[in-house]
């Protein structure tokens, strides 16, 4: 259909690990790259890895990575034929896509229309219903009178949620177990919504008990082919942000996986979708699945798909953007083994996941068989408050879930970063937990079962760490030239075995 347009230079309109990720594939394809950077990123890896680099402006994203017109200007100036948006920033901005195309450049991603169609959540919901894709049952539109409320609730089936139409952040939401409580709950939600958002409009949605967040990777080309690249399990979340993903999902059987894959392809076809996209589903404990939304871009967690099917998704994105057909048919795409991704965030998991900043002093990244690391980290890098706190992705691949889990535990044990607080201990506790081993988790698990991933200090650990702290304080003083004085003869014990293995969870004594 579309004529093939060659791409010899790509501007990557992003930063950090994803910019580097895209550039790696470009380099392997013999395509030159152009980095863009804010003043905070002058020495960043993505700038150093690029063929060319263009400054956008000061550190704040509004003055740098969100300045679409400056980015397009940079692409034109450097002779790039295409722009890869990565994720976040301008990746799902339909206006930007239109401006890119108006400048005669290729946007490596879906069409502006497709982004727009899936960007408006209510319109997208209607489209998906029309396309026969299951969505979370609900009224979508506000419901005013008690009579309609009751009728709709019965139709959806209890438990239901009453939600503020103008809402957000969990405010104005009521979970209703049965009909007797519906009307009172709706009235309370209405008054809360009125005072919080200035509008008392509420609507109904089915309440899903312990839902899992499972998504399907799809890919479309401009010839009209659409395939799916199977599932990713993304239920382990904190503050609605994913922490650990894996594929295949331990929940799905082959029939359910295939049914969801079919639904995803159907959804994408219904809007003539091209390039990479992801359909996010909620799956309830009865294994019903409901489409949540579509992400019209590459996902952070795309490497777990790459690991099990051996496909370079960025390469496919570029090929499709050039107008080429998908390299493989649905039947030719095969998955093998098990992959897990852990996201290293600059945050203090033991204190409300508060973001952390700092200067990276020491960095050792894991290696060896079955381990992939995608990161923009380097020693001497400053983690600033300006950008996303995700610092690195550790991806492991094994023959089965057990091998992959053991490998992730091993890989995380090799990771060292000092100078900035990270969620590394939290990641290690997740991977080592019985819940993760059993695959028994849902989107609420991290928040509702903190004890399963908690860090307790045993008496032994306190003693051992205190001893080491004293030794190191002593060594540091000596290094500064303080004299090594004779001991005061305070030794009253005898040589003891060291029992602590510094396992990330509760240690044995």
């Amino acid at each position: 259909m579309t004529a093939t347009r060659p791409i010899t230079k790509v501007l990557v309109a992003n930063r950090g690990e994803i910019a580097l990720r895209v550039m790696r594939t470009c380099r392997e394809m013999g395509i030159h790259t152009v980095a863009v950077y804010s003043d905070a990123d002058r020495e960043a890896l993505h700038v150093r890895a690029a063929y060319q680099a263009v400054r956008l402006g000061p550190a704040p994203v509004g003055e740098s990575y969100l300045r679409g017109e400056v980015i397009i200007e940079a692409a034109l100036h450097t002779g790039a034929e295409a722009i890869h948006p990565g994720f976040g920033f301008l990746s799902e901005n339909a206006d930007f896509v239109r401006q890119v195309e108006a400048a005669g450049l290729i946007f490596i991603g879906p069409s502006a229309d497709a982004i727009e169609a899936m960007g408006d959540k209510i319109a997208a919901r209607r489209r998906m219903i029309d396309a026969g894709v299951p969505v979370v049952p609900g009224t979508a539109d506000p419901v005013d009178d008690h009579e309609t409320l009751m009728a709709e609730a019965e139709k959806i089936g209890f438990p239901v949620m009453v939600k503020a139409a103008a809402g957000g952040g969990g405010k104005g939401i009521r979970i209703v177990e049965d009909a007797s409580a519906l009307l009172a709950a709706a009235d309370r939600a209405r008054s809360e919504a009125q005072s919080s958002f200035g509008s008392g409009a509420v609507y109904l949605e089915k309440y899903l008990d312990h839902p899992r967040h499972i998504e399907i990777q799809i890919f479309g080309d401009s010839q009209g082919n659409v395939v799916h690249l199977a599932d990713r399990e993304c239920s382990l979340q904190r503050r609605h942000q994913k922490v650990v993903e894996e594929r295949p999902s331990p929940l799905l059987d082959e029939d359910l996986r295939e049914a969801m894959g079919q639904a995803a392809v159907q959804a994408a076809q219904s809007i003539g979708y091209t390039n990479a996209g992801t359909l996010e589903f909620l799956v309830d404990s009865q294994k019903n699945f409901y489409m949540l939304e579509m992400n019209t871009r590459l996902q952070v967690e795309h490497p777990v798909t790459e690991a099990t099917c051996g496909i370079d998704l960025v390469r496919w994105q570029i090929l499709v953007a050039m107008g080429e057909a998908l390299p493989l048919t649905q039947e030719e795409i095969r998955h093998e083994g098990h992959a897990i991704e852990a996201r290293l965030y600059a945050e203090d998991a033991d204190h409300g996941f508060l973001p952390a900043t700092g200067l990276v002093e020491r960095l050792d990244l894991p290696g060896g068989p079955g381990v992939r690391v995608d990161t923009g980290l380097f020693e001497g890098m400053e983690v600033t408050p300006h950008y996303d706190p995700m610092l690195a992705k550790i991806i492991v691949f094994g023959r089965d879930r057990e091998e992959a889990t053991a490998r992730m535990a091993r890989a995380l044990s090799e990771l060292t970063i000092t100078g900035v607080t990270t969620n590394l201990p939290f990641l290690r506790r997740i991977i080592d937990s019985d819940r993760f081993a059993a695959g028994d988790y849902d989107t609420f698990t991290i928040e509702s079962h903190p004890e399963d991933f908690s860090a307790r200090l045993s008496d032994d650990r306190i003693q051992h760490v205190s001893a080491l702290a004293a030794v190191l304080a002593h060594v540091l003083r000596r290094r500064r030239g303080f004299p090594d004085r004779q001991g005061s003869g305070g030794f009253s014990g005898r040589r003891s075995a060291w029992v602590d293995d510094f396992s990330p969870g509760e240690e044995s004594s």
Binding site: P385, L457, L472
Partner: protein, 166 residues
Amino acid sequence: MKYHVLLDGHHAEVEIERDGSGFSVGLGDQIWHVDVGVLRDGHAYSLLIDDRSVDVGVEEEGDGLDLLIAGRRYSTEVLGEREWLARSIKGETEDGEKTVVAAMSGILRGVHVKEGQAIEKGQPLFILEAMKMENEVLAEVSGTVRRVAFEEGQTVNLGDVVVEID
């Protein structure tokens, strides 16, 4: 030499003595031999405790010594005998923080109080934003705002005094 180590509210007395190429370390009735290998200009150490291998990252700030072991941070304070005595004599500090410092680096997004304003404990003082996350900071004491050190939109660093209350 004797050291006093504070960790997670616990106090331990640790005795250190040179012993061959390493140190003898005594704590209560336990004694270990620790051999210390220095890595990266002193930011990290390879310890052999008897023959057990433990890698430790180190971050210092005053008496504070943070150890990073197996990805986990242990925030300790290590004091010599003299410093420990000096501190125990001084006694504990007052209750309720009157100097409100930034708990993270970020951008000041909302300043709800003015200098001279009377405030109650629990009242919102300001909002700090970092990495798309907003963090509302509340007053821990009632009183009068003596100083507001930053304006909305400014960047504050971890530990900066933002508000002082009388």
